[in-house]
């Protein structure tokens, strides 16, 4: 896992550099202060995250999310031609809707289901590319983070986030289209053959 490497890299490079900068004696307190600051951060964001999760739950419970899903179908057929059957199309629609609304917990299961149903390699590529660029309309966690750091207008980054998301998504989709021009569909993936139990583990991503 990449986090093993990130953790080891952070610690070992800090340890080595601190000898040269003469700050070795500061490391112990930094470790503890860093851990403590996580408590402060999580508590400071908790209110905003809970409030937003409440609203998202409401969107799902009252069927607004499902209605949005139906509205998105035509756009999805256009972006991913040859997606596969009805079930695959509705899983993709559910995945993209959940992404737009920031329903992280709903997006991944729908996306994983969609990925397992898709029969065209280029449509699968498009699904992965879309999911790895952020579609979220209201970045609520970042807003919660900004609010916890004392920003008077935590949501004033919205226009910049939309502009940036639009740029990165179009760049990703465009390069997928360009790079995928010559590619042929492949066989079963090695991971799918193995059967994948790792999916059920808790990911501290």
């Amino acid at each position: 896992m990449s986090l093993n490497i990130i953790w080891l890299l952070l610690l070992s490079s800090s340890f080595i550099v601190s000898f040269f900068t003469g700050r070795s004696e500061l490391l112990a307190s930094a470790l503890l202060e860093g851990a403590q600051s996580a408590v402060t951060l999580c508590l400071a964001m908790a209110g905003a995250i809970c409030l937003w999760s409440g609203l998202l739950r409401l969107l799902r419970d009252c069927g607004i999310a499902q209605r949005l899903e139906r509205l998105l179908r035509p756009a999805i057929s256009f972006l991913m031609p040859g997606l596969g059957g009805e079930e695959a199309r509705s899983a993709v629609a559910a995945n993209i809707t959940a992404n737009l609304l920031g329903l992280g917990n709903a997006a991944t299961p729908a996306g994983v289901k969609a990925a397992s149903l898709i029969t065209s390699s280029s449509a699968l590529g498009m699904l992965v590319v879309i999911n790895s660029s952020s579609l979220q309309l209201i970045p609520s966690t970042v807003a919660a983070l900004r609010a916890s750091m004392g920003s008077p207008q935590p949501f004033d980054i919205l226009p910049a986030v939309w502009l940036t998301s639009a740029c990165s998504l179009s760049a990703a989709v465009l390069s997928a289209r360009l790079l995928g021009g010559r590619e042929k569909a492949g066989g079963r993936s090695p991971a799918a053959k193995r059967g994948d139990a790792r999916r059920d583990r808790v990911h501290y991503n």
Binding site: S2, L3, W7, L10, S14, F20, T21, L26, L27, A30, L31, L41, C42, I49, C50, L51, S53, G54, L55, R57, L58, L59, D61, C62, G63, N105, G111, S121, S122, L124, G125, V128, V129, N131, S132, S133, Q136, I138, L145, R146, M149, P152, F155, D156, I157, P159, A160, L163, T164, S165, S168, A171, A172, G186, G187, S189, D196, R198, Y204, N205
Partner: protein
């Protein structure tokens, strides 16, 4: 204007849900309890990562890294202080959140650097993680273009985040 977007969404969703005869209050409360679970889930990772990030900053390793990458970033208009965030963003969501919070608290939520970090966090995804989860679930082999295309998207996103913050604020 943006200060109205979120309250307007909250109000209109509530009205619409009420109109559709939903139990608005119960759904909100149940969702809030989901939120608590979200925090409980990210908390262990944030603790571990923030302690490593604090050590990384205090030791001087972070300054060294920033000084090393600064010229390349300057050429495309990205503030070099956001370098650690860009490096972890494709690998880990909680590490990105931890690094981002460190940057925002250090430079201020409404500074250009703090804003750029926030926009980067809000408009990019955990590319490698997403890739791994989705492609391992698929029954067919994913196309080779997927990873490079997604990484190009991330890079464009980082540049666009810096440019839009400079342009809009």
């Amino acid at each position: 204007m943006t200060s109205l977007v979120v309250p307007a969404i909250v109000l209109s969703v509530s009205l619409l849900a009420f109109h559709r005869k939903c139990d608005v209050y119960t759904s909100l409360c149940e969702g809030a309890s989901d939120g608590l679970k979200v925090i409980a889930r990210i908390f262990p990772a944030i603790v571990i990562l923030l302690s490593a990030i604090a050590v990384f900053r205090v030791s001087g390793a972070q300054d060294l890294l920033i000084r090393f990458i600064a010229p390349a970033l300057k050429a495309v208009g990205i503030p070099s202080e956001t370098a650690p965030l860009m490096l972890v963003r494709p690998f880990s969501g909680s590490a990105a959140l931890a690094v981002g919070s460190e940057i925002i608290s250090r430079y201020g939520a409404d500074s250009d650097i703090g804003r750029t970090a926030a926009v980067m966090l809000g408009s990019t995804e955990t590319t490698f993680y997403t890739m791994a989860v989705y492609l391992s679930a698929a029954k067919i082999r994913g196309p080779r273009f997927a990873l490079p295309a997604a990484l190009i998207g991330d890079l464009v996103g980082f540049i666009a985040a810096s440019a839009s913050v400079r342009l809009l604020y």
